[in-house]
């Protein structure tokens, strides 16, 4: 072969041209056309938007200045949002721990249990929290209870998914050591796996709490308790200046919880 003796300074050969690139672009364009078209899609018209930018201006103007007289009324729902997030995080993360161990090959060699657990997890993950809340509100009527249940499912899905991936990657050394010392499966998990993944588990739980705050703030829109309830009320009566107060509060709550959570996570991991 001459290439073997070719000088190092020679350019590398161009990668072979394939159809994959252009084909991807064609598929991308086709899906976009399908989604934006009047006939099959949602009739997306960017020109219309730009020429209509001022259309909602008078409504948007009603948001300002925020009407602070609504502030006392927001305290109760705001606390309820926090309560829902705290309770759902604790229950959801506790349930997620065994579920995560069942969803990893490392801790669950039994194929049936493993496949079953993962299938359930991906089904649970496919439905968003607000849809769970809708269904639970229909079953249990309004209030924080359906909201808490929806958040619990959402937590299990998130934490178990992240944690099972961490369990997949644990150092096998301690596993072998405990097994060699005669530990059964549960003892192995307790003494070889859990200590390795505990910091991650706490970090994921904090992260889930952060997501819960965001979620529980909007669950009230479908009647599942918390501050979202006020979004609906003020919106229904076109009290946009009051709605603005609620939005600002949610914004601040989310930002503050995120700061605290990131600070704690940095200390942990």
């Amino acid at each position: 072969m001459t290439t073997a003796t070719a000088p190092r300074s020679a350019r590398p050969s161009r990668p072979a041209r394939t159809l994959a690139g252009p084909l991807t672009l064609v598929v991308f364009a086709a899906i976009t056309w399908w989604a934006a078209s009047d006939e099959f899609g949602i009739d997306f018209d960017i020109g219309g938007l730009l020429s209509n930018l001022t259309r909602g201006a008078d409504i948007l103007a009603e948001f300002w200045p925020p009407d602070l007289t609504v502030l006392p009324r927001t305290i109760g729902p705001m606390l309820e949002t926090l309560q829902m997030a705290v309770i759902a995080s604790v229950i959801g993360c506790a349930v997620a721990l065994p579920v995560a161990f069942l969803a990893s090959r490392v801790t669950t060699p039994n194929t049936v249990a493993y496949v079953f657990d993962r299938a359930i997890l991906s089904v649970v993950r496919a439905l968003p929290d607000v849809l769970y809340a809708l269904v639970f509100v229909a079953a249990l009527s309004i209030g924080p209870l359906p909201g808490i249940l929806a958040l619990i499912l959402f937590n299990i899905a998130v934490v178990a998914k992240l944690l099972s991936e961490t369990v997949d990657g644990v150092d096998p050394g301690p596993l072998e050591a405990t097994r060699a010392a005669g530990a059964n499966r549960i003892q192995t998990v307790r003494w070889a796996v859990l200590p390795q993944v505990l910091p991650n588990y706490v970090a994921y739980s904090l992260y889930a709490f952060e997501l819960n705050i965001r979620a529980s703030a909007i669950l009230g829109i479908v009647g599942a308790g918390g501050i979202g309830n006020l979004i609906n009320e003020t919106r229904r009566f076109f009290q946009y200046d009051k709605l603005m107060v609620v939005v600002i509060e949610i914004f601040l709550l989310v930002i503050i919880v995120e700061w605290i959570s990131i600070w704690l996570r940095r200390r942990l991991v």
Partner: protein, 307 residues
């Protein structure tokens, strides 16, 4: 080692201090107990809970069975959600892409990147359903159009942040090479930065699309289009058979798209069977960046919204 040596390791190391841990546990326990005791949930409702859940489950999926004649309508409602998510993701990707360059510390000055990052964080903190209610429904009215725009705007936050982090993780070699060859600022970005970051950023777009499908499914709750609207209607009119059908369709379509998109992301990041980037250039220090969003470690997937 003799006993007289004071530094000798004589036995077990002393256990690490427990004080902070105990205080933290106590505080957490107080908060949780406080929340449980004060939350507005009557105990009778908790007792009825299993029966109520079993009943709605049975009315949605078993008796009567999901209404198959409704399948077509359910599917087209879900496809509208997919369309909203797709177009919303494109808007988010398109607008976040330039912002990500301005938000990367190694591309612009510290001040500019800080300001951009704070703006992106602020956008991220407002859920899309609120963006829809507060901005776009008043502006363009009810319907899928508002939902698309809301998802697009919210996506700018996460996509911009994650893309900026990818750009901050690049190897500075190609940038220096492009500069040394006399590249103008834009050419340096095009040939020094873009080829390094594009695969990961495109993978983020796909991942965001998966998340946006879930987001667009709930936008119907405020009248911003998609399958959520149909679900609200069916539940309001107690048509649980239809609700069951809708839920089945949502789950199946979501899982199908997740699977396809996940496969594409893996191909984009790891390459197909052709030699990948990694074979051509040694990049040991990139290992942690590669791990960040997609590989098996979940730690950093956290940086994106799972929800």
């Amino acid at each position: 080692m003799t006993a007289s040596d004071p530094t000798a390791v004589t036995g077990r190391p002393s256990p690490p201090g427990q004080t902070t841990k105990r205080i933290a546990t106590l505080l957490l326990a107080l908060v949780v107990v406080g929340a449980v005791l004060t939350v507005d949930v009557e105990i009778e409702r908790l007792i009825d809970l299993p029966a109520a859940l079993a009943q709605i489950f049975s009315r949605m999926f078993l008796d009567p069975a999901p209404e198959w004649s409704y399948f077509g309508d359910a599917l087209s409602a879900m496809l509208e959600s997919v369309q909203i998510a797709w177009l919303g993701t494109i808007i988010g990707a398109f607008l976040s892409f330039p912002l990500a360059f301005f938000g990367a510390k190694n591309i612009t000055s510290g001040l500019v990147s800080n300001v951009i990052r704070q703006i992106l964080n602020a956008i991220r903190a407002i859920p899309e359903i609120i963006v829809a209610v507060v901005v776009f429904i008043p502006m363009v009215g009810l319907g899928a159009y508002s939902g698309t725009l809301a998802i697009g705007v919210h996506s700018i936050g996460t996509l911009g942040k994650l893309s900026a982090e990818v750009i901050e993780g690049i190897d500075s070699g190609p940038v220096e090479a492009a500069r040394a060859a006399g590249g103008r600022p834009l050419q340096i970005q095009r040939w020094g930065v873009l080829p390094q970051v594009l695969p990961e950023i495109v993978a983020f777009w796909l991942y965001r699309f998966e998340i946006n499908i879930r987001a667009s499914a709930i936008l119907g709750a405020v009248g911003a289009g998609g399958v959520g609207e149909a679900l609200v209607q069916s539940l309001v009119y107690r048509r649980f058979d239809r609700a069951g059908m809708l839920i089945i369709v949502i789950i199946v379509i979501t899982i199908l798209i997740d699977t396809a998109s996940g496969w594409m992301r893996r191909r984009i990041i790891e390459g197909g069977d052709r030699p990948s980037r990694g074979d051509l250039v040694e990049q040991p220090e990139r290992a942690d960046v590669e791990l960040r969003p997609f590989a098996s470690s979940g730690a950093a997937r956290m940086d994106t919204d799972v929800g």
